[in-house]
């Protein structure tokens, strides 16, 4: 055991050293002494401001303390539910690849695991104390109350570590069923202690349940462990350091575990595609891609819509500019997203039926284009009221959105085919002309008639590669 402890300490010390080195490098890039002093000063000032602001709500904090006995058990319930939810993604105990390799030395894995378990407990205690200190400094809550919360927080979180580890190893529908059963059980217990038994026993019952569960699963803690999965998740977590990633512009992507889709894959999805269908396979590929990059997508779409909404009530010209910006952003995002889709190794290894791939992509994008059009239509009706010009404007925006995207994709495909491709004069001029039309469409309604030219361009036969 002492050998295992030495190896464990050795690994942890070196990990801390490596992380320190990385942080020093990143801090060196981000800050110099002057900036550091200013930042330190602002943090102190900010804390003083927060304390001052929080002090205004002294009575509110006092009333929280009075009601503490009622909601502290609910905090424990929330932590239990949180643990089950977390167990879908994280084992809770940081058993990394380094620990796994240590366990292949003549050292029993159970000792290495035990140390990582105690390490998790220690981390829980430390961050709980940190929270306590923060609350102690910044809030007018009494020390006694804070200490009570601290004890319960530490006890509950420590007792929930092993259950999270155990539940993480359970795959599939079983875990969802456990989640539902626990939720029902908690609701029943809550009901019992609300209407039948004295409420004071609720907290102790919850803690007793968690403690008993720990006793039951303690001997099974190293049985049927999905070590590969645990190591992948833990390694990603350990080395995903936000500040380092921002400074170095790299990203450690978390391991994607599409649990719910995997659980509920229907038998229909396993069937071969209808082979004669031109785009079905590619639409599936884009769907997979969208799922992986949805955060990026939602972000950019959100920014486009916010831009539209915020600038819509500041005059005709500004409103026109907002439409142009929103469409430009959407266009940019969609095009880079299209290009990024080809970086997938499988997709890159096969020939590209660009006609079908592009068509499938545009079909997938119509949902998002539709969303932007709904927002645009709503804003137009609010600002301009219903009229034939509003209809024409909407037609202009919808056509522009599609034509600009289609044009950008067309040029992108050409460049992917020919490294030295230069867009034609027409291709270069279309975009700026459309943006000018968009900007001026609010000030000069007549401009919307140019949608006819756009539609003509849209139906122009383009040579497919």
């Amino acid at each position: 055991m002492s050998q295992a402890w030495s190896v464990f300490l050795f690994l942890r010390k070196n990990r801390i050293k490596k992380k320190q080195k990385l942080y020093n490098l990143a801090l060196g890039v981000a800050f110099d002494w002057t900036i550091s002093i200013y930042v330190g000063f602002y943090i102190v000032v900010l804390m003083a401001m927060v304390y001052d602001a929080v002090s205004q709500f002294e009575n509110w904090f006092y009333s929280i303390e009075q009601l503490a006995d009622q909601w502290i058990p609910l905090m424990v319930v929330a932590l239990m539910v949180r643990t089950i939810i977390l167990s879908f993604h994280s084992p809770g105990i940081s058993f990394s690849s380094a620990d796994w390799k240590a366990a292949t030395l003549p050292i029993l894995r159970q000792y290495v695991w035990l140390f990582t378990y105690f390490e998790a407990i220690l981390k829980t205690v430390i961050w709980s104390f940190g929270l306590f200190l923060l609350a102690f400094i910044l809030t007018p809550l009494s020390t006694g109350f804070l200490l009570k919360c601290l004890m319960i927080l530490i006890l509950t979180n420590c007792l929930l570590l092993l259950p999270q580890w155990y539940l993480y190893q359970i795959e599939g529908k079983k875990k969802v069923i456990i989640f539902l059963l626990v939720t029902v059980m908690l609701a029943i217990i809550r009901f019992v202690y609300l209407f039948v038994l004295p409420f004071e026993g609720f907290l102790y019952s919850l803690l007793a349940i968690i403690f008993s569960f720990n006793l039951v699963i303690w001997n099974k803690r190293l049985e049927k462990i999905n070590w590969q999965s645990v190591i992948e998740v833990v390694d990603t977590k350990i080395w995903s350091m936000f500040f380092i990633q921002k400074m170095s512009k790299t990203e450690t992507k978390p391991v994607q575990k599409p649990i719910l889709p995997a659980l509920f894959r229907s038998a229909k999805e396993k069937l071969p595609f209808p082979y004669h269908h031109e785009t079905m396979i590619y639409r599936k590929l884009w769907k997979i891609n969208f799922r992986q990059e949805k955060a990026y997508f939602v972000q950019t779409l959100g920014v486009s819509i916010i831009c539209l909404v915020l600038l819509s009530f500041r005059g005709d010209l500004v409103q026109g500019v907002s439409v142009a910006i929103a469409i430009f952003l959407f266009n940019k995002m969609s095009t880079s997203y299209f290009q990024a889709g080809f970086k997938d190794r499988l997709l890159h290894a096969i020939p590209w039926d660009m006609k079908a791939i592009k068509k499938a992509y545009l079909q997938r994008m119509t949902v998002f284009m539709g969303l932007i059009m709904v927002v645009l239509a709503t804003l137009l009706v609010i600002t301009e009221h219903l009229s034939i010009w509003v209809f024409l404007q909407l037609l202009l925006y919808g056509t522009s959105l599609y034509v600009l995207l289609e044009l950008k994709l067309h040029i992108t495909v050409k460049k992917m085919n020919d490294k030295w491709y230069t867009p034609t004069i027409l291709e270069q001029l279309i975009s700026p002309i459309i943006y000018i039309l968009l900007i001026s469409s609010f000030a000069y309604n007549l401009v919307s008639i140019f949608v006819i030219i756009l539609l003509l361009y849209f139906f122009l036969p383009k040579k497919a590669i």
Binding site: Y275, I281, D418, K419
Partner: protein, 230 residues
């Protein structure tokens, strides 16, 4: 016309030169083994021919179709078997075959015929509607291999073809590769299994530190010296 022409290709990553002035051709129906130490540049050369890796200088063409000027047409002439399978977890084995079939413009009849033939040969006929995560590593490698063997292409690139395959599958693949070359497909493969390569390859290219040291008939191949003894 040579099937594959690699002319004065140089690849660098940052300041580090990975491939230097690589120049060789592969004729129709030839099977060329790419040999070298770890880090010699074999996989980088494969990736450059695939178009994954950007090259700083040089030209690559297959059947006269230039990689830089007609990339989409170029891709249709090549199929690739990677060392590690990169199947999508959301597609079953059959759906992968269909994806390859569609991409290489195989008719449905032809695709089904080839799938039947190859899945029987590699003994995974009962795994057509199974997702990759339910397959063993060896089976995933078989699925990946079958994908690349479905189309009739001018050039087949293979990274460690026999890795992960059982003895029967490896023997079947070896036979298939020979049949492919007889049908006019050129093959460029990397492997550390020199015994197997000796049985199938016509020629070899010995890569060392990003440069071609030897390009000769397989019969003239001796051995590779230790990396640290140079």
């Amino acid at each position: 016309m040579s099937q594959l022409v690699v002319e004065n290709v140089t690849v660098a990553i940052g300041q580090e030169s990975i491939l230097k002035n690589i120049h060789f051709t592969v004729e129709t129906g030839q099977l060329i083994a790419l040999i070298g130490h770890n880090g010699a540049g074999k996989s980088t050369l494969m990736k450059t021919i695939m178009g994954w890796q950007e090259k700083q200088e040089g030209n690559i063409s297959v059947q006269g179709i230039d990689q830089d000027q007609e990339f989409l047409h170029y891709k249709r002439q090549i199929a690739y078997i990677p060392e590690e399978p990169f199947l999508l977890s959301e597609l079953t084995a059959m759906q992968h075959f269909q994806l390859y079939g569609k991409s290489y413009q195989l008719s449905e009849e032809k695709l089904n015929q080839k799938v039947e033939e190859l899945t029987n040969l590699f003994e995974i006929k009962d795994k057509l509607n199974v997702y990759p995560e339910s397959l063993s590593k060896g089976m995933r490698q078989k699925v990946q291999t079958i994908c690349a063997l479905l189309p009739e292409v001018d050039l087949l690139l293979i990274d460690e073809p026999f890795m992960g395959l059982d003895i029967h599958a490896a023997a079947a693949l070896q036979q298939l590769l020979l049949e492919k070359t007889q049908g006019g497909t050129s093959i460029l493969l990397t492997s550390h299994q020199l015994d197997r390569i000796n049985q199938v390859a016509d020629k070899y290219i010995l890569l060392d530190k990003g440069e071609i040291r030897e390009y000769d008939e397989m019969a003239n191949f001796d051995t590779i010296t230790r990396r640290t003894s140079q």
